[in-house]
């Protein structure tokens, strides 16, 4: 059975719209140079903002700027009370360090949860901003009443914004998590024993029917494109047919990811209101 993200996305969208009607929010997407691959995600964000009444704008900076100049711009935005959240469009052009730039962002404006300070809260189990894609995966599972506690969750991929944070978040949800990657020796052994399999490898149709059991719930977090520009997931359609439940691509996790980014923005706004109130007390 295929599951979709549209219904949940729409519910979150309604929630954001309601909140935005009384709380002005402003997100800035910092774009350095041009990268067509990530443009679709940014377009989706701007559309969502438009439909919910959130101000979102793209600040386009030439790749000809020095990293030092970009740092100054981020610092300026950190101090601008008009800006609720800052997003850094990735990948960055050559010569710019994500490690450096991400950590210039004030953790209280870090809408993507990519600063080390916010990532650390995954390990210390503290409340805070979480990366949007792993959040979307949990939301997808919960919206479809799929239990997580005590389940064997196998994650394919160990990236900073998906595999690793998801492992920590699933562990916090009481799942027994296994993280697999390109150096995993017997991958099929791992995928076959999963109750929930999350594919986040960035390779079209990577998970084939022979790799899974029929009882499994498959979450496909892959976003790949074929030569005709069609979107493909990390999981082969036949594997999805074999699985008990599988999330669609397109129309699955990706839709919820955008919505979760805006939930993060609301979280930031609430924190900013709280801190402002404390200051003026």
């Amino acid at each position: 059975m295929l599951i979709y993200g549209k219904e949940v996305r729409d519910a979150i969208k309604a929630e954001i719209k309601k909140y935005a009607a009384v709380n002005r929010m402003h997100m800035v997407i910092l774009q350095i140079g041009e990268d067509p691959a990530s443009q679709m995600y940014v377009n989706g964000i701007c559309k969502f903002a438009d439909e919910t009444g959130v101000d979102a704008d793209i600040l386009k900076l030439s790749a000809g700027n020095s990293q030092e100049q970009i740092i100054h711009i981020i610092e300026y935005m950190n101090n601008d009370p008009d800006i609720t959240g800052i997003m850094l469009q990735k990948p960055l052009p050559p010569g710019f360090s994500l490690e450096v730039l991400a950590n210039v962002i004030d953790p209280y404006k870090d809408v993507e949860g990519i600063t080390n300070y916010n990532l650390g809260k995954l390990i210390s189990y503290e409340q805070g901003i979480r990366p949007a894609t792993p959040k979307a995966i949990l939301t997808m599972l919960k919206a479809h009443n799929i239990p997580i506690e005590g389940k064997k969750v196998t994650i394919l991929g160990r990236s900073t914004i998906l595999g690793q944070p998801l492992a920590a978040m699933m562990t916090a949800e009481n799942a027994t998590v296994t993280i697999c990657h390109s150096k995993t020796v017997n991958l099929v052994e791992e995928t076959k024993r999963a109750d929930i399999l999350v594919a986040a490898v960035g390779k079209p149709n990577f998970v084939t029917p022979d790799m899974i059991n029929e009882d499994v719930v498959v979450i496909d977090a892959g976003i790949n494109f074929d030569e005709e520009g069609r979107m493909l997931g990390d999981v082969h359609p036949e594997a999805k047919e074999k699985a008990r439940i599988a999330s669609a691509v397109p129309g699955g996790v990706g839709l919820i990811t955008v919505a979760e980014l805006f939930r993060n923005l609301v979280y930031l706004k609430e924190e900013q209101i709280r801190r402002q109130r404390e200051k003026t007390r």
Copy 2:
């Protein structure tokens, strides 16, 4: 076969002593109230400091202080160029928040690697201070030429200072990691399939022979005490006998942990020298 930590510990100790002879280092252990359970670890640290020529002192603060007062003390130490590293003795007495106090420590003086900023570097795969116990486990394995890449590593325990960071560090070492905990449903299935099993649950003799295979390498990170005050690990002696390789308790990971804490101190000192140099350039 039992493996021990003394030889590695002594090698690291010699290395620290050599470094300390030319670089003055000063660690402050902040103790709030009295907790006899953690006193042994602190004693071990002070002895190591004494033997290597590192200044270490315990700043004893009454549990009668407010958290606000402790925060001011930490901020004062952050700004004192004479202090290389700050350690917070745990557990904290009731009324004090580890979440708050740990994150007041300047990440560049965070010798234990417990600030969210430093924990986040585990997820972003950046260089930085790592918690000493998971470091000690990796050092133990490497010192005994036990391969990690491609191996199935099962970790029992998901704590902020051990299980979770170790999972990230083992993943970075190309192991296929599974994190187990009290909500894991079929624990024996997980422990039996491990190539390397790390026990960090804090329950004496928790891992019994029936739970493991004979080929496994067992790392016992447990430090428990029986009624007579004898130290017991998390792994039953008979399980250690059955395992191909198992680390001793006492005399195993714990010895190396103290040494790794001082390696962290050297790392901080080097960073402080580097930053000072940049400032005066």
